[in-house]
């Protein structure tokens, strides 16, 4: 008997091992049972998610994880961070390895509808841009005719760049790297005339990794819409609602002046009906979500409202120095608009 067909079949079977077994139980129950929220984050993008020398994670995406952990478990420290590359992230969420993916991920139709994930709410409105060395004297992305551009794989940026290149007849040549460190390394070495990613990512790379940030210019063109949003696994509406309303709660807290510092005082003294609902003093909003009455107070005490999260991690006073821009409250000219907590 020839064994070759069986050997071939075995190899074909190995192709299917990439899929993981079913994940049982509801996400909220699982989180409570293990006493820990498992959060998928970026491997290292200053301002959004980065670990310091002691292994403490910080950043805007990380604060979303902390807020949810505080609202669900009452302790922002009970988070296990799983650093993920761009192409690992959806598989990690689909397979149940992580509870929530909070990793500057762009919300698009095809991802939302075909990957078995639900995007929660936009936490940062971004757009893709280009960075070039100042000494190249390039002032506009449209001058990059025939240029090589360093880019990280596994992101929407490759497609955006191709669209922009075609629309403007630029014939850009991508050099695609698996890791962001390799892509930025090749750009800084001079291999590529430009580096492209979301504008917030450009600011992070320029201000944290360049030897001299003033040597690099972020070009004015934003070539795409990149609403960055956390995502949860599809099929658990309860946890989907929790994640969504923790974020909206933090946005509405900013709108009504609840901060990390004044939340105790406001809980005790404020007679504003909206504030009394947010803090759980008048109505128990947590009950609808399957959480404690003071779910939002715990989240606020842990990380502050959305405005504070922004200012602390990426705002004008930080190394990234990003303007509030589109991420300001709706009544201040921005896009941050939370549906009412009531």
């Amino acid at each position: 008997m020839k064994r070759t067909p069986i050997a071939l079949a075995g190899l074909a079977a190995a192709a299917l091992i990439a899929a993981a077994p079913a994940h049982a139980g509801k996400t909220l129950d699982a989180i409570k049972a293990r006493g820990q929220l498992v959060c998928g984050v970026h491997t290292g993008l200053a301002g959004f998610s980065a670990a310091d020398a002691q292994g403490n994670w910080s950043g805007l995406d990380v604060d979303v994880c902390k807020a949810i952990a505080a609202a669900v478990l009452g302790d922002a420290g009970k988070v296990k961070y799983v650093p993920l590359t761009a192409q690992q992230r959806f598989t990690a969420l689909q397979s149940g390895e992580i509870d929530i993916l909070s990793r500057n991920t762009t919300w698009t139709l095809s991802r939302d509808a075909s990957l078995g994930v639900n995007f929660v709410a936009t936490t940062y409105y971004d757009g893709q841009g280009f960075m070039v060395p100042v000494k190249s004297k390039i002032k506009s992305a449209k001058q990059l005719k025939g240029a090589t551009v360093c880019v990280q794989s596994g992101t929407t940026t490759e497609k955006n760049m191709t669209d922009f290149s075609r629309a403007n007849n630029l014939n850009l040549k991508p050099v695609v790297f698996e890791k962001i460190e390799a892509a930025t390394g090749a750009y800084f070495s001079g291999r590529c005339a430009a580096f492209t990613t979301d504008a917030s990512g450009l600011a992070s790379v320029r201000n944290k990794e360049a030897k001299n940030p003033a040597d690099h210019l972020i070009l004015p063109e934003l070539i795409s819409k990149e609403p960055l949003a956390p995502a949860v696994r599809r099929g658990d509406d309860e946890f989907f609602a929790i994640a969504k309303w923790v974020i909206y709660g933090l946005v509405e807290s900013e709108e009504y002046g609840l901060t990390q510092a004044n939340v105790d005082k406001m809980t005790a003294e404020s007679q504003d009906p909206v504030v009394m609902r947010l803090t759980g003093k008048s109505e128990d909003m947590g009950k609808h979500l399957g959480l404690e009455r003071d779910w939002l107070v715990k989240a606020l005490k842990a990380v502050g409202n959305y405005g504070e999260i922004f200012e602390r991690n990426v705002g004008p006073k930080t190394a990234l120095a990003l303007p509030r821009g589109a991420n300001a409250q709706w009544n201040k000219g921005g896009l941050m608009y939370a549906p009412p907590v009531r």
């Binding site: 090589t148 794989s153 070495s189």
Partner: protein, 392 residues
């Protein structure tokens, strides 16, 4: 003395070895089949339950992303399968060029280990020990770093005679302008290949019949070159070359190899050559010393001894492990994604992210490497059968 004839062996029995063998094979096949079914069914069910779309239909949708370098014309509006094809061809390009170069370098190094010159011997030994003991990924990164960090920018490239340029954009070299003369030269060379082959056969037969040695290597090559030259003259002997010129972002004109390609190629060639050198050394060492002495007593020179006596016998020992090295080189080329070379893994990663078809894309990668490796192994087995001892 009359004895009963021994009992006839029954053709079939429940306790026969044949039946037991059959049972074990059916059992093994059933277990493997069941495991396969379980994996496939479980995967499909889980993906359906989580609302993950699957299927290979995405291969016919537009890819929508550019690829930095390609052997065939490719446009971002073409379908995903075409993007995969570009990736496969990029992988094959590095694998084929790499195998040829690693074989040449490795063979020289392996023979060098038997040199009578102690410096050559030592250098070859040092090379092997240095390159085979450093992880290949590290070597790729070092070579890429060399091209992107050490070399000058595109605006001021290192130049050899104004024709060859080395810079951060890679290695650029002039190519002849394609015209009637070049086409006729190629046609002339193609025409002369069968003639050269026929001559070689004739020369070998004449040698066997008359023991009068004729060139069986240089003469056929000279025939092909002469054919090519004649075609070139007939086409008007064109001498126009397309020289590379430094542009704003890239070298324009001529042809060039990118730092990504060169990094992958150099890393893989230098690493694999160290292993091939050991394979060749072992093969040569396996030929009994008496063969050398016999060749010497016939009056063959050292070079002739190596070429006519040792290598043909060593080849039988060399080919099987050499096949493994070729397969290793091909598979190691998947590390190219670390330094930005658009091989099939890199393309699949991008397609995976755009379409979300993880299982399908990984399956395609595995299939591509499986087919490539099985074809390489199949070819080498055929060659091995040719080189093996012919028992008459």
């Amino acid at each position: 003395m009359t004895g009963r004839p021994p009992p006839r062996r029954r053709g079939w029995s429940w306790r026969s070895q044949a039946f037991r063998g059959l049972v074990y094979q059916v059992l093994a096949a059933a277990v493997i089949g069941l495991a396969l079914w379980f994996l496939a069914h479980n995967t499909v069910e889980n993906m359906r339950a989580r609302g993950i779309q699957s299927g290979f239909g995405f291969l016919l949708q537009p890819a929508g992303f550019d690829i930095g370098e390609s052997v065939i014309p490719y446009d971002a509006l073409e379908q995903n399968w075409k993007a995969f094809l570009v990736g496969v061809l990029n992988t094959l390009r590095v694998a084929v060029v790499g195998i040829v170069m690693a074989t040449l370098l490795g063979t020289l190094l392996g023979i060098g280990r038997f040199s009578r010159n102690a410096i050559v011997r030592g250098l070859c030994y040092g090379y092997v020990e240095l390159f085979r003991n450093i992880p290949v990924l590290l070597q790729l990164l070092v070579w890429y770093l060399f091209f992107t960090d050490v070399l000058p920018p595109i605006s001021e490239p290192l130049s050899v005679g104004g024709a060859f340029f080395l810079s951060k954009a890679g290695f650029s070299f002039p190519v002849p302008v394609w015209g009637l003369g070049q086409a006729l030269a190629a046609a002339g060379a193609a025409l002369c290949v069968p003639i050269a082959w026929a001559y070689r056969r004739w020369a070998i037969r004449q040698f066997e019949l008359t023991a009068k040695a004729r060139s069986t290597f240089w003469a056929p090559i000279a025939i092909v070159i002469a054919g090519s030259f004649a075609g070139w003259i007939a086409g008007g002997a064109p001498t126009a070359w397309n020289y590379p010129v430094a542009g704003a972002f890239t070298m324009e004109g001529g042809a060039s190899a990118t730092p990504e390609f060169l990094g992958v190629l150099l890393g893989l060639v230098l690493y694999t050559a160290a292993f091939i050198a050991e394979v060749v050394r072992a093969g040569i060492a396996s030929v009994a010393h008496g063969q050398v002495e016999a060749a010497g007593s016939l009056g063959l020179s050292r070079g002739q001894t190596m070429r006519l006596v040792i290598l043909p016998q060593a080849l039988r020992v060399i080919i099987p492990p050499m096949t493994s090295q070729y397969l290793n080189l091909t598979k190691n080329s998947s590390l190219a994604v670390a330094i930005g070379y658009p091989d099939v893994v890199s393309i699949a990663t991008t397609a995976l992210n755009n379409t979300g078809r993880a299982v399908e894309c990984i399956a395609i990668i595995m299939l591509v490497y499986l087919i490539t490796s099985l074809s390489t192994a199949g070819f080498m087995n055929w060659y091995n059968a040719r080189a093996a001892i012919k028992e008459r």
